[in-house]
Symmetry: C2
Subunit: 237 residues, 2 copies
Amino acid sequence: MLPAEVYHHAVIVMRMKPGDQFEIVAADKKVTVMQLERVTDHAATARVCKKLEHTVELPLQVTIACGLSKKDKADWIVQKATELGAQHFVFFAGDYSIVKWDKNKQGKKLTRLNKIIKGASEQAHRVMVPTVSYFENIKKIPLEKYSEKMVAYEEAAKEGETAVLAQLVSRLKKQKETIAKQHLIAVFGPEGGISPAEVQYLRDNDFLLTGLGPRIMRAETAPMYLLSALSFSLELS
Amino acid sequence: MLPAEVYHHAVIVMRMKPGDQFEIVAADKKVTVMQLERVTDHAATARVCKKLEHTVELPLQVTIACGLSKKDKADWIVQKATELGAQHFVFFAGDYSIVKWDKNKQGKKLTRLNKIIKGASEQAHRVMVPTVSYFENIKKIPLEKYSEKMVAYEEAAKEGETAVLAQLVSRLKKQKETIAKQHLIAVFGPEGGISPAEVQYLRDNDFLLTGLGPRIMRAETAPMYLLSALSFSLELS
């Protein structure tokens, strides 16, 4: 017998018929494929078709926080980073951002981003749909909930800094039991980069200054690098 | 005294004056910043300003071979993958590709891609500019020069295959001395994927069927994932 809220969603909202399949997501984010059997006016039964052994979500929560760049870069970032497993997005007007979202624009922009995120989540078979929010400057981003904080720092890359990200990843890998409770925020500057004042603010708030390899990447490419590196290290290695 | 061809390029072609700086790339791909000192009609001297200790090129050669997808996906792939360190691009009309480049189009398309690659190389401070070529189908791609061959295979990802890429990377990491001689080709299907016949052909040619994590990525995202994972593992870890 299906729980009342599952019955309601499957039979009333989604209008499923006996034989139709649906997916349920358990607390550990693992997916079970179910098939509807008998349906009456007030109840339904379903059988388990298949339990998927792997989860499609990254083992820790990752928030990608990006300075605003011009054109459709935000669209692009949320689409690709959703495919790559980010769970939350934050956009902020950076000191070097040449665009801002004024009060009138914000709602429209966020609606658009949420729509792109939803599409990308379906494409990537995500079980959770990432969230997105906007802040007027970097200092407005609430930081209490993050257990790990980093900023992608081009100057570190230029100086050949290679160890910080590897150390962060190796620390995460050791936390097998508790990694699901970890939440990493990774800050990326807008085109034009992150200002010295912003770097100082992040430093003061215990952010790791992290190089992402020896090549200088565009603002929108760096989050993809980070998410891919996290996935490879934590999901495939 | 500068070698004749460096003199020619710096003084005659680039019209440099004493005090101007230029970069030279040694056989090990490391960069030395030089400053022009005395210039005469037939010769010039320069002094070493700075030897950059790290190389900006991936330690092995990587060819990204992609089935053709519609719209401007090829533009996008070469731009981002150049930032991420790919050295060669191959595009091919896959069995499931819904576009092809006919004879008339090929030259124009390749010119456009070369221009994007050049821009991205400068952006990323690359010391070599990646090449690009086109083949009418997957079987026309010459395979002799590759020491490692892999195909990104979505079915492997769906089944939870997690080991093949990690094994490939760990094999590469062990080849510290000889890694510069290694050349990996990574094949990615077009939108719509790689056909069973293509998979069989690649299998017969010793390609590794490689999963890229549990999330299904768009055709253009998968090469970014691979290059980021290679960079993180081989350059930062």
